[in-house]
Symmetry: C2
Subunit: 237 residues, 2 copies
DNA sequence: GAATGTGAACACATTCACAGCC
DNA sequence: GGCTGTGAATGTGTTCACATTC
C-alpha cells in the first residue's frame, strides 16, 4: 500500500473489476487468476495486477485471487462499504429519471432529495421512492439535514456553474454533472461530467468516416453461446 | 489533410471546440487565436492547433482562426452538416427522458422512435414531440422505414447485448449505450458507453480519500447561516 | 510582431516478460 | 507448474519551443 496518486483510469477499472467479480461470485466461483479474469471480460491481466498492486497484495502466487476477498477489498477501496446520499439539482426529465433509476442503489447510493426553482414542482414527490422536490434556495439546509454527500447537476448549461457554486458552498465534495459545460470546481471538490453532446458528436464523426475507425480496438467477437451464457450470469445484477 | 487514425480524445475535443466557437460567434467575435481560445476555456493552445492540424490548415499565421470558417470546418468534420435520426431502445425512465431532451436537436440529432417490449407502452406517444413507441420486435423494419442511423440503448444490463445484436442486425453503425456492461460490437460498429455506475463509484473512491486534494483553508468554511444567506443572494441574480 | 503548424521532449498509460513465491 | 507482483519496454497523448508564414 503506497500513497501515490491513483489515476482516474485506474479507479474506473476498479469499479469494473468489482462488477465482474460480483458476476463471478453469483456464478459460485471462489477463486480466479488475473489471466482468467482478463480472458473472460477482455481485459489485460498485467493491468489488473498492476491496478490492484497500488492498494496491496491481494493475490496468492500460484493460485490467484479469492473472489470474495477481492470483492471486499474493492468495495472498501471504492468506499462502497459506506452508503452515499445523493441530491439531484434539476427536477426536469433527466433529474426525475435519475431519481427513479435503481442502478444507483446497487452501489450503495440513495437519492434522498431533488431540487428545483419551479414553484409547480417544489413540494411534489417523485417516483416510486417518493423523493421530495425542494426549493433550490434551501439546498444548503437540506444537504445538512439529509446528510447529502453527492450532488447530481441536471440543469440547463447556462445555470450549471451557479448551481455548482451553491453545491460547493453547501460543503459537497463530489458532483456528477450532466450539463454540457466545463465547470470550475475549487480544490478538494471532484466534478465528473457526463457530456452526452460530446458522445453523440463523436459518433457522428465516426459515421462520417466509416473506413477509418473500423479498426479501432479490434475487439474479439465471442461465439454466440458464450454471450448467451454471460447474459444468464448477468441476470443477477 | 492526412489519412492517419484520429484518437477518440481528439474527436471529443473537436466537439468541445465547436461548442466554444458557437459561444464566441454568438458574442459577435469574428477571429480568435488558439492562445485566446485556450485561455478562455482553459485548454492548451498547442493541443488545439495539433487537433486541427490533423484535418487541414485552417488558420492564418500572425492572425488566428476565423470563427465562422472554423465552425463550418468542424461541423463538416464531425458530420454535423447532415442530420442524424435516433432510435431509443427502452422506453423506461431514462429512454423517455432522453426522447424529451432537446440538447440533441442543437447538434442536428432528432429522436424519431422509441422501442420497448412492454405491451402497455407500445403504441403510445411520448413527450412534446410525440415520439411513437414501437414493438422492439419490429426494430429492423422501423429502422429502415424511418431511416434511423443512431441507436441509444437504455435497457437493463442483462438484455443490453441482445438488444445490441438486434440493432447491429438492423444495420445500425453507431450506438450510445447506457447499460452498465461492456458490449461486444462487430467490426464497423461504434459503441460508446456512458456508464453512470463507474462515474459514481469513482466519486465514491474520491470521497473515501479526502486527504489527497483537500487543501481548503479551514477558515474559509462558513457557518451555516452565512451559507444560507449567500444562497439567497446568488439566486437573485 | 504575432500566431500558426510541427518536430522534439516530456509525461502518462499499457503491455511485456520474468524473478520470486506458493 | 502456475500465478503474482513489478521493473523494463513500448505505446499513446500532451506540451514545449521554434522555424515559418502572414
Amino acid at each position: 500500500m503506497k500513497s501515490e496518486k491513483i489515476s482516474e483510469l485506474t479507479t474506473n477499472r476498479l469499479s469494473v473489476y468489482l462488477r465482474c467479480l460480483n458476476l463471478l461470485a453469483a456464478a459460485g466461483i471462489k477463486t480466479i487468476s488475473s489471466q482468467a479474469l482478463a480472458d473472460q471480460f477482455n481485459m489485460n491481466s498485467a493491468q489488473i495486477r498492476k491496478d490492484l498492486a497500488h492498494f496491496g497484495e491481494f493475490g496468492v502466487r500460484g493460485v490467484g485471487y479469492s473472489v470474495d476477498e477481492l470483492r471486499r477489498h474493492l468495495t472498501q477501496i471504492l468506499g462502497l462499504d459506506r452508503p452515499h446520499r445523493v441530491g439531484i439539482v434539476g427536477a426536469g426529465n433527466l433529474g426525475t429519471a435519475l431519481a427513479n433509476y435503481n442502478g444507483f442503489t446497487a452501489s450503495n447510493f440513495e437519492v434522498v432529495a431533488l431540487f428545483d426553482n419551479d414553484k409547480e414542482k417544489i413540494g411534489r414527490r417523485v417516483g416510486k421512492a417518493a423523493v421530495a422536490v425542494h426549493d433550490v434556495r434551501k439546498l444548503a439546509r437540506v444537504v445538512r439535514d439529509a446528510e447529502i454527500d453527492v450532488a447530481v447537476i441536471a440543469v440547463p448549461a447556462r445555470v450549471a456553474q451557479r448551481v455548482l457554486n451553491q453545491v460547493m458552498s453547501a460543503g459537497i465534495k463530489a458532483v456528477l454533472n450532466f450539463a454540457p459545460v466545463r465547470l470550475h470546481a475549487r480544490l478538494g471538490v471532484k466534478v465528473k461530467t457526463v457530456d452526452l453532446t460530446i458522445q453523440l458528436e463523436s459518433l457522428s464523426y465516426f459515421l462520417a468516416r466509416p473506413q477509418i475507425t473500423c479498426v479501432t480496438n479490434p475487439r474479439q467477437i465471442l461465439p454466440y453461446e458464450e454471450i448467451a451464457q454471460r447474459e444468464e450470469q448477468e441476470l443477477q445484477s
